[in-house]
Symmetry: C2
Subunit: 332 residues, 2 copies
């Protein structure tokens, strides 16, 4: 598989899973960054450090889609030998949907974990200016019959939802953002000019700090406050971030028998699904279950892509001399 095909696979899977915020709509900005020489289209990735169950991969300023994937492959190999494996990535860039790399571990029946830093758009608790990123945490756990349990959560409010609220002139929930004056606001437009807040205030902020140290100091990469703010400020292209990722794989069989583990995970999932639902909720869904159902439906029925995204893709395709035309199936 070429690197471009590998990136396309992850982008399309994001759209299939309903995570269209991380889907093909971002393809154009990566392409522009590559064409302008800001990102390295042919990174010479190298394991610059290796000891026992851990390694450090230098991504050579390529996209994180390529380096994080390679790093997780190494992490699962290390876990196969040592029971656990961890690979930190430096000199990298956006890796899209964190869940993908965690889910890679599922192919070998392992548990996967991924996190990253990125451009600053969130305050550290107690501050008023954006200094950290949403530093997502992803986990994937194998199951026997249930959809795999896949955690993928930003440690902030959802920027995309704030953007939509701003367009519609709707308020955002308390605790999601602050305005440029540093005061908490429910005004989506003010929050977009200001900064996001971590989930749970100091709690989410402290988890972000942990990820900053792992992806910045341990990986030998830039902290979020050192990463380019171009995209946050509205640029149409991805420029050089040189951020870090931290990936880990855990071999279940080093801890317990596979069947015992799967029995227990199924027991947990069944108990949660059978829990009395909250008002207005049909039932409890495990993390990743709705994304899995969305992907099943999309594989059957197709996936909706916004007209603006299609037009942007056609534009850059023409620009790079590979013109394409989508057959549009407009709904209703």
């Amino acid at each position: 598989m070429s690197e471009a095909e590998g990136i396309a696979e992850i982008l399309v899977l994001s759209d299939l899973r309903g995570l269209d915020s991380h889907g093909v709509r971002f393809a154009a900005r990566y392409l522009r960054g590559l064409r302008r020489g800001l990102l390295n289209p042919r990174p010479r990735m190298e394991l610059v450090r290796r000891r026992g169950a851990v390694a450090v991969l230098d991504a050579d300023n390529g996209l994180g889609f390529v380096s994080a994937r390679a790093a997780m492959t190494t992490a699962t190999e290390l876990a196969g030998t040592h029971g656990i494996g961890a690979v930190a990535v430096r000199n990298s860039n956006h890796f899209g949907m964190a869940a993908f790399y965690a889910m890679q571990a599922l192919e070998t029946g392992m548990i996967g974990h991924a996190t990253t830093d990125g451009p600053p758009h969130t305050v550290i608790w107690g501050g008023r200016e954006p200094m950290v990123s949403n530093d997502p945490i992803a986990w994937a756990f194998p199951t026997r019959t249930s959809p795999p349990i896949v955690v993928d959560t930003a440690l902030t409010g959802v920027k995309e939802k704030i953007r939509i609220a701003a367009e519609r002139g709707e308020p955002i929930p308390v605790g999601w953002g602050i305005g440029p004056d540093g005061a908490e606001t429910t005004d989506a437009r003010l929050a977009l000019q200001g900064a996001l807040l971590p989930i749970g205030g100091p709690k989410g902020s402290s988890l972000i700090v942990a990820n900053e140290i792992l992806c910045g100091a341990l990986a030998g990469a830039r902290f979020s406050f050192e990463v380019s703010k171009a995209l946050v400020m509205g640029a149409d292209h991805h420029d050089e971030w040189r951020c870090g990722h931290f990936l880990a794989a855990i071999d279940v069989t080093a801890f317990t028998d596979r069947e015992t583990f799967l029995d227990r995970v199924e027991e947990f999932a069944a108990t949660m699904r059978a829990a009395a639902p909250a008002r207005g909720v049909d039932r409890v869904y495990l993390p990743g279950e709705q994304a899995w159902l969305a992907a099943e439906a999309a594989r059957r029925d197709g996936v909706r892509i916004a007209r603006a995204t299609l037009e942007e893709l056609e534009g850059v395709a023409t620009e790079v001399g590979e013109p394409m035309a989508f057959t549009r199936l407009d709904a209703r």
Copy 2:
């Protein structure tokens, strides 16, 4: 050091760090559980599984203070050899302040990580009944001159603060709890009868699920929904939980040079401390910094213990035939 001394050290350190919710006030409930034969006062802990960089410790129904500490010692040894080490603990009980075990790794200059499950008092997202615990996440990172960066955060609202609000008849913030009818409430008394909510709603809930699988299925221990609710329901003693913990240590020098790492951590800390503060805040504090300052002050000036806690301790001391009398220094 005897096991009792080891437990006392952790309880007192909690009080010193200002985490009095996990301090000596809990000593009486552990003692009662031990005396009633519900907890094992002489656990024969055993590494029941071991491969490469990982191990599983059976706590033999002793207190988590003892088993988690032993497990982190093993994890740091494994990390010394393999760069990372992870130890899961089964058949365990309350381990108190999660930060302690993460901080153990600092003694060897390593990064420490700890999590646990426990009694159910929190809903899984979408549910209305308590099915999971607060499943805290702790991280400790070495520093050169700054106080160590120590993350220790429950993934729920703060139960102790809800209790205090209930006593004072004050409301709690939106998003902290639901009443027995399953509806969100700002009435602290209703929330105490109902359940806590995870931080960030589905986000915190998904991180709790990850910890449940690590501490339950992977460790081979009980999930939170299987752990005794006696304490949640107001019992005066700790009964048998048989819960799980998951601890990991990371050897910084397997990833990068120690001095480079420490330089970068200090750079991060200095930048965050110098960040423009939010309204009404003097400056940004790194995770664990205020607890560290509190402990410094308490070592100098002494620590305040609630009169009710002292009286309870005197009561159980007399009960076990080791009468003691505190010299009370009542403030004002």
